[in-house]
Amino acid sequence: MGTIGEAVRRRRSDLRTGLMGRALDIGLIVVVAGFLILLTTRVIDHGPSYFLQILAFAIANGGIYALIALGYTMVYGIIELINFAHGDVFAFGTFLSASLLPIVGLNEGEPFVLGSVFLLLVVFLVTMLVCGVLNVTIERVAYRPLRHAPRLAPLITAVGMSFFLEGALFLWKGPSNVHYPNILPSAGFEIFGATIGAKELIVIAVSIILVIALALFVDRSRLGKAMRATAQDRDAAQLMGIDIDQTIAATFFIGALLAGAGGTMFGLYYGTSVFDLGFSAGLVAFTAAVFGGIGNIYGAAIGGLVIGMIQSFWDGYFDSAWTQVIIFVILILVLVFRPTGILGMRVPEK
C-alpha cells in the first residue's frame, strides 16, 4: 500500500513527463501570462487608488473566508472528516451575534463610542464560545460514536447535521434575508486616494490576529502538540498518554471559535445573513481549504485569502457573471499541477 504522498508524487511525475505534460505546462504558462497582461492593462486603466481600494475589499473578503476555511482544515487534518456542519455553525454565528448586538445595547444608527468597542468584544466572545460549544456537541453526538465506523458513515451524519442546523436556523429567523445591524462607523482614512474604511481595517486586523494566534497555539502549546500528534498517528498518540477524545473535541472547539468570529465579522461587514448561508459560504471556504492544502493551517488561511481576492478583483475589473467560473477554473488548474494544494496537505499517512 503506497501512501497518499507517494501516489501524489507519482501522479505528478506522470504529468510532468512526456510531450503531453510539457504541452500542458507551456499552455498553462501562456494562459497565466495572457491573463496577467490583461489584468495589468485593466489595473493601469483604472489607476492606482482604485487598485488599492479593491485590494482592501479583497483582503477583507479573503480574511473572512480564511477564518471559515480554518475550521474545515483543522477537523480534516485530525480525523479526515469533511465537517459539512461547519459552514452552518458559521451561519449560526452570524444569527447569534445579530441577536446579541441589540441585547448588549448596540443598535443601528447610534454613534460608535469607546464603550461600544468593549460591548462588541463581549458579543464576539459570547458568539465564539457558543459556536465552540455547539460544534463540540455536534462532534460528541454525531461523529464520536462513528469514529471507528467506515468513513462514509460520519460523512453522512455530517451532511445530516448540516441540514439539521439549516432547518433550525430556518425556524429561528425564517427564510428571508436577515438584516444585520450596521453598527460600525462608515468613516475611514484616506491613503493614496483610496478610502480604507474602519470596517475593512477591523476585519483585516481581526483575521490576521486570529490566524497568528491559532498558528502559535498549534505550534507552541501542549494541546497544540497533542493535536499534531493525534493528526499524525492516533494510536501512537494514545499510547503516549494523549487523551484522544479530548484533543479531538478541542480541535472542534477551536475551529468553531474561529467560525463564530468569522460569522460576527461577516455580519458586521456585509450587513446581511440568511439561513442557508452556511451552504454557499461553506462551499467556498471548503474549496479554499483544499486550495491551500487541506489539513494545513497556513494553507487554509492563504487559500481563503486567495479565493476572496480572486472574487473581489474579478468583480472589480472584469465581468461578475464569470466570477464563480474563474474561481473554479483556477482551483482545477492548481490541483492538476499541485494536487496537494498550494502549501501541500497535512494528513495522517496510513
Binding site: 427564510p175 428571508s176 450596521n182 456585509y270 461578475s320 457573471a321 466570477t323
Partner: protein
C-alpha cells in the same frame, strides 16, 4: 419479520387516514351549489423571503373568490399553491404545482405565477391541458412577444399552438424603459450603473433599462450580472460604479435575490447619496429591511400595475378588503392586480358556463372566454387582451421610499 408487518400496517393506516381526510375535504355539494364545484387555483411564492411578494396577489384572489362564491349555480372555491422552495420562487416547484392542477378536472383556471422564470416553466404544462393562466405580475416580454433575442421563443412555450396565457402587467419592454425615462428626465441622472441577478426577469428588465438609457443619450457606466447565491460582497461593483462617475444605480433583481443589499453596502463608499432604483421585485418590506440604515428617499421602484388606491372609486373595496385580510403582507402592490386577474377569470367562467349551456364548461371554452374579455373595468384598469395575451393597455406606477414605507409617486398608462 413481525416488526416489518407492524410498520407496513402503520403505513397503510396512515394512508387510510390521509385518504379519509382528502375525501372529507371535498364538499358534498351543499348550499346553493347544486351544479358542482369550480376551482380557481392560484400559484404564487407564498413562503419565506418571497412571501412579501406572493402573499398579496394570493390574498387578492382569495378575496375575489370570497365575494363571488357562486356563479350560475356553481360553487366557486380557491385553491392556493406555493411555488417557493426554501423561501425563493422555484420554476420546478411551479411546474409540479401545475401538473397537479392539470390533473384536477375541477380547476378551470389559474391566477399566477408571480415570477417570469416560473411562468416560463409552467406555461407549457398548462398549455398542453388548455388550462388558462392569468398573471397579475409577470413582466418578461419574451413570455408573450417574439423578439430576436428571445430564448425560448413564445411559440416554443405553447406546444399546442393555441395561447392559454394572459397577463395584466406591463412587460419589461415597458417597465425597464419607464424607469430609465424617470431616471433621466426626473432624477437628472445620465451616468448610470446597472447590476442584475442574472435571472430571466432581473437580467431582462436590466437590459431594457440599459437600452433606453443609451437611446436617450445617457451612459451605462458599469454593467454586472451576479451569481447572487455566492455573492455577498457588492463593494467592488459599487466602487467601480463610483469610480466611473455613476449618478444612480439600477438593480435588476428582486428582494429575494439580494436586490437591496447593495443599497446597505453603498454607505461608506458613496459619500453623497445617489438614487437607487429597481423594478417591482424590490417593492416590498424586505427591501427596506435589507437597505438598513441606508434606506432613504433616494430609493425608487416601478410597479407594472396601477395602484388601486389612487382611484377614489375603489375606496369601499379596499376598506372592505382590509377588514377581512389584516396581515401586513396581505395588502401589497400586487394585491389588487391579483384580485383583478381573478375577476377576469371569474367573469370568463361565467360566460363559458353560458356557452356550455349552463353546464360545466370545458377548459378550452374558458380560454376562449378570457381571450374575448372586452373592456372589463376593474380596480386597476380596464382590460382587453391582444392575441399574444398581453393587456391592450397597462399602467406603470412609480413608488419612492418615504418615512419607513414605500409611497406612491405617480402613474401613467402605457400602450404596447
Amino acid at each position: 419479520m413481525k416488526r416489518r408487518w407492524l410498520s407496513a400496517t402503520a403505513v397503510l393506516a396512515g394512508l387510510a387516514i390521509v385518504a379519509a381526510a382528502c375525501g372529507q375535504a371535498a364538499p358534498a355539494g351543499g348550499g346553493g351549489a347544486d351544479k358542482g364545484e369550480i376551482i380557481i387555483a392560484s400559484n404564487f411564492p407564498t413562503s419565506g423571503a418571497d412571501r412579501a411578494s406572493g402573499r398579496g396577489p394570493e390574498a387578492g384572489v382569495a378575496y375575489a373568490v370570497q365575494l363571488n362564491g357562486n356563479i350560475k349555480g356553481f360553487k366557486i372555491t380557491h385553491k392556493p399553491y406555493d411555488d417557493a422552495v426554501n423561501g425563493v420562487h422555484d420554476p420546478q416547484k411551479g411546474a409540479q404545482n401545475f401538473t397537479d392542477m392539470v390533473s384536477n378536472a375541477k380547476i378551470l383556471g389559474v391566477v399566477g405565477p408571480f415570477n417570469s422564470n416560473v411562468a416560463r416553466a409552467t406555461i407549457p404544462v398548462a398549455n398542453r391541458a388548455s388550462l388558462v393562466m392569468i398573471s397579475p405580475a409577470n413582466t418578461n416580454e419574451c413570455l408573450t412577444q417574439d423578439f430576436p433575442y428571445c430564448d425560448p421563443k413564445p411559440a416554443a412555450l405553447r406546444p399546442t399552438g393555441k395561447n392559454n396565457y394572459f397577463r395584466i402587467a406591463a412587460p419589461d419592454t415597458v417597465q425597464g424603459p419607464a424607469m430609465a425615462d424617470f431616471a433621466i428626465d426626473t432624477l437628472k441622472a445620465t451616468k448610470i450603473a446597472i447590476w442584475s441577478d442574472n435571472e430571466t426577469f432581473g437580467k431582462g428588465v436590466a437590459d431594457n433599462f440599459g437600452k433606453r438609457v443609451t437611446a436617450k443619450g445617457g451612459t451605462v457606466v458599469v454593467r454586472q450580472d451576479f451569481d447572487v447565491k455566492s455573492t455577498n460582497d457588492f463593494r467592488p461593483f459599487l466602487q467601480r460604479a463610483k469610480d466611473a462617475g455613476a449618478q444612480a444605480i439600477y438593480a435588476g433583481a428582486t428582494s429575494a435575490t439580494k436586490g437591496c443589499i447593495p443599497r446597505a453596502q453603498m454607505k461608506g463608499i458613496f459619500t453623497t447619496d445617489i438614487p437607487y432604483m429597481g423594478p417591482d421585485g424590490i417593492g416590498d418590506t424586505q427591501c427596506i429591511k435589507d437597505a438598513g440604515d441606508n434606506a432613504t428617499s433616494n430609493m425608487y421602484f416601478t410597479n407594472a400595475a396601477a395602484d388601486a388606491s389612487q382611484d377614489a372609486a375603489n375606496k369601499a373595496l379596499i376598506d372592505d378588503f382590509k377588514t377581512k385580510f389584516t396581515a401586513k403582507e396581505d395588502l401589497g402592490a400586487y394585491t389588487f392586480p391579483g384580485y383583478d386577474s381573478a375577476k377576469i377569470l371569474l367573469d370568463a367562467v361565467g360566460r363559458a358556463i353560458d356557452t356550455a349551456g349552463g353546464k360545466m364548461p370545458t377548459r378550452e371554452q374558458v380560454v376562449q372566454a378570457v381571450q374575448d374579455t372586452k373592456n372589463l373595468k376593474l380596480s386597476t384598469g380596464t382590460y382587453s387582451f391582444d392575441k399574444n395575451g398581453d393587456p391592450t393597455a397597462a399602467t406603470m406606477a412609480f413608488y419612492q421610499y418615504k418615512g419607513g414605507d414605500w409611497s406612491f409617486v405617480k402613474q401613467f398608462s402605457v400602450g404596447q
